[in-house]
């Protein structure tokens, strides 16, 4: 009994293509780890296992050329495992080429053609040669730059069973769930208004509502992906780049498990790759220079992801030479941005780097950075995020990208003013105090909360809501990276899980709004933006002076 070719290809080929794509990415990462830590038996085993699966799968589907390439690859690793051959940079480069050939060959596999892409013959021969100890170039410890690119994050040792879904479908699902939320909210209101006393209809509806709520939450989670796998792909980029510049760079990825909405992760790739390139090209010094200044000849670039309050913060940190202040000042003077005798502080100076056209043509002239940073800034701002830069001469440079959780479920504190609810991200709420208990200098637009003098703002004033203020107003002390602010509201409704949606066009540019949210009861409310509130408060207290 044999399977007819048509059903094999139709049903199995998509599985094979998806699995193999993932497998090749895993192999690539494991090879880079092996280069840096040749003794990593776990990484070696992993490449073996993945190759073995690939060889079997390709053979089963009649892609004998891919199977042969995988077999040759296995032979090379066998030589390493048996210590007949050391996995030198040349070997790693060759095996990475083999990964590339296999990846490109998937295009043919998709067309059901049993052939390998491009320069496969050459790669196959060179791998054989490498195993036999014939090398294309003399090798020894001093024969060339020794690139190092490694990752501190653990490899994803096992593949989760996954299913690929078009994100467009997820978007539709999310919208639908949002609409259901709204519909069930108004239905509940009707029921409440019309149900007879003692009727259990409402109770039944609430039970069903809870289930809808869970569904909604689940749909949100479907869109969240860990940032690690995307970030790990940068290891390869850095390896190639540092090799070509004769530098040694180690990439450390921290916080790869932090989850972000899939669309945000994809949009971050270009700006991050730009910052990483900059760090290698302009930040990290050549090994000799590093050694001369008492540093480890291999530079380190840390790519760190953290959730801080209601935001995701990504930091690109290098231990290179830092930004050359004098050059930045010089360029600033040329452009008339820095006064002739001015001595700007870092906080005033470095933002200039993000201005369009700040960098000059021969990019190496500016020892710091500046090339295309305006584009980075624009991309981040398009995500409603912000980016800052800091540097210490001789010690290194950092870029910090702060992104709002554009699309996520957050725990929110619901507050109300004149019967209208608003949501505060719960992480930013430090404490709640009765305003009546704090009577100091409110007139000056500041409030004394147990010795802390905080800018004060009424939510009523932010949205210009008229009407009588209640006697017992409440102060929410809010915290964000820029500082603290005391926000006065009518009352606190309680905690609620909310689904954040991107801000509607209508509210773009309104500083105190981070987005809209759907409450558990289906009500759509506004989410308040804490840094925006702080800015508004400061502006108002200045105006008052």
């Amino acid at each position: 009994m044999t399977l007819d070719a048509e059903s094999i290809y139709e049903q199995i080929l998509p599985v094979f293509l998806a699995d193999t794509g993932e497998a090749l990415a895993t192999m690539e990462q494991a090879l880079l780890v092996l280069e840096a830590e040749p003794k990593s038996a776990a990484s070696l085993d992993e490449v073996f296992r993945v190759l073995h699966t690939l060889k079997g799968d390709a053979g089963s589907l009649g892609f004998s050329h891919m199977a042969t390439m995988s077999h040759q690859f296995e032979e090379a690793l066998e030589a390493v495992r048996e210590q007949r051959r050391r996995l030198d940079p040349e070997g790693v480069s060759l095996l990475l080429r083999a990964v590339d050939v296999l990846r490109q060959s998937l295009v043919f596999a998709k067309l059901r053609e049993n052939r390998l892409a491009g320069e496969s013959e050459g790669v196959l021969e060179r791998i054989k040669g490498w195993v036999a100890g014939r090398s294309g170039m003399p090798h020894g410890p001093e024969s060339g730059p020794e690139p190092v690119a490694e990752m501190a994050s653990p490899l994803q040792a096992e593949r989760a069973r996954t299913l690929r879904v078009d994100t467009g479908k997820l978007d539709s699902l999310l919208n639908l769930v949002g609409e259901i939320a709204v519909a069930r909210g108004s239905f509940a209101e009707r029921l409440e208004a019309s149900a007879h006393r003692g009727s259990d209809l409402l109770a039944h509806h609430r039970d069903a509502d809870r289930l809808y709520g869970e569904l909604q939450e689940l749909v949100m989670k479907l869109r969240m992906v860990p940032v690690g796998p995307v970030l790990q792909r940068f290891a390869r980029l850095l390896r190639e780049l540092s090799r070509s510049l004769h530098k040694r760079v180690r990439l450390v990825i921290e916080g790869g498990q932090v989850e972000l909405d899939n669309s945000v992760v994809q949009l971050l790739r270009d700006p991050l790759s730009h910052l990483l390139r900059n760090a290698v090209v302009h930040g990290i010094e050549p090994p000799e220079q590093r050694e001369a200044s008492g540093k480890n000849p291999a530079g380190t670039i840390i790519l760190r992801t953290r959730q801080e309050g209601g935001a995701i913060v990504l930091t690109v940190l290098d231990d290179g030479q830092g930004i050359d202040r004098e050059r930045v000042i010089g360029r600033g003077r040329e452009l008339g941005l820095v006064g002739r005798h001015a001595a700007p502080a870092d906080a005033e100076l470095y933002p200039l780097l993000f201005l369009p056209g700040f960098s000059t043509a021969p990019l190496s002239d500016l020892a710091g950075r500046g090339v295309g940073l305006d584009v980075v800034k624009q991309s981040i701002e398009a995500l409603r995020g912000s980016v800052e830069v800091g540097s210490e001469p001789g010690k290194g440079t950092w870029f910090r990208i702060r992104l709002p959780l554009t699309l996520a479920i957050v725990e929110g504190l619901v507050v109300a003013v004149a019967g209208q609810s608003y949501v505060l991200p719960i992480e930013s709420v430090i404490e709640l105090v009765d305003l009546a208990s704090l009577r100091s200098s409110r007139a000056a637009g500041v409030l004394d909360v147990r010795g802390q003098i905080l800018p004060l703002i009424r939510l009523r004033e932010v949205f210009e809501i008229a009407g009588q203020r209640p006697e017992d107003e409440v102060v929410a002390v809010l915290d964000c990276a820029e500082g603290r602010v005391a926000l006065v509201v009518d009352r606190v409704v309680g905690k609620s899980q909310v689904v954040i949606k991107p801000v509607a066009k209508l509210f773009e540019g309104v500083p105190a709004i981070a987005g809209s949210a759907v409450l558990g009861n289906g009500r759509v409310v506004l989410i308040l933006d804490v840094p925006g509130l702080l800015k508004t408060a400061e502006r108002r207290s200045l105006a008052r002076v």
Partner: protein, 132 residues
């Protein structure tokens, strides 16, 4: 009721492609098919699902096929369950080791449909014989 129950086969492989292939071959026969994607899941499902036969890949993450087989042979619930080892062609030493650990039979990848169906039928027939 037991006599008309469909035979249950547990397919174990970390390759989605291989699992799909095995499913397609065996779905033409009246079997109930369950799958596991690694060694640990295989042991867990073997205990929970109590399959009549296990088709077991060798190279897998977490726990390889040999370890799974050894584990199955140690437990009363699965001691007698027939196991067909799935190896890659040209790995004779694996076949040898599989038999030492108590595997019932083996097939090689790329899997031949007719060979697999025949071996599965034989194993299931033997199992009925040994239990009665």
């Amino acid at each position: 009721m037991g006599s008309i129950r469909k035979k249950k086969i547990l397919l174990v492989d970390d390759s989605g492609t291989a699992l799909m292939m095995e499913k397609m071959i065996l779905s033409r026969e009246p079997y109930e098919l369950v799958t596991a994607a690694d060694g640990e899941e295989a042991v867990e499902k073997a205990l929970r699902e109590r399959p009549d036969l296990i088709l077991l890949d060798v190279v897998m993450p977490k726990m390889n096929g040999f370890e799974v087989c050894a584990r199955l042979r140690q437990m009363d619930e699965t001691r007698e369950t027939p196991v067909i080892m799935v190896t890659t062609r040209g790995e004779a030493e694996n076949v040898q080791r599989g038999f030492e650990l108590g595997c019932t039979d083996y097939v090689t990848k790329p899997i031949d449909g007719l060979e697999l169906v025949t071996k599965v039928r034989n194993c299931l027939a033997q199992e009925v014989g040994s239990k009665s």
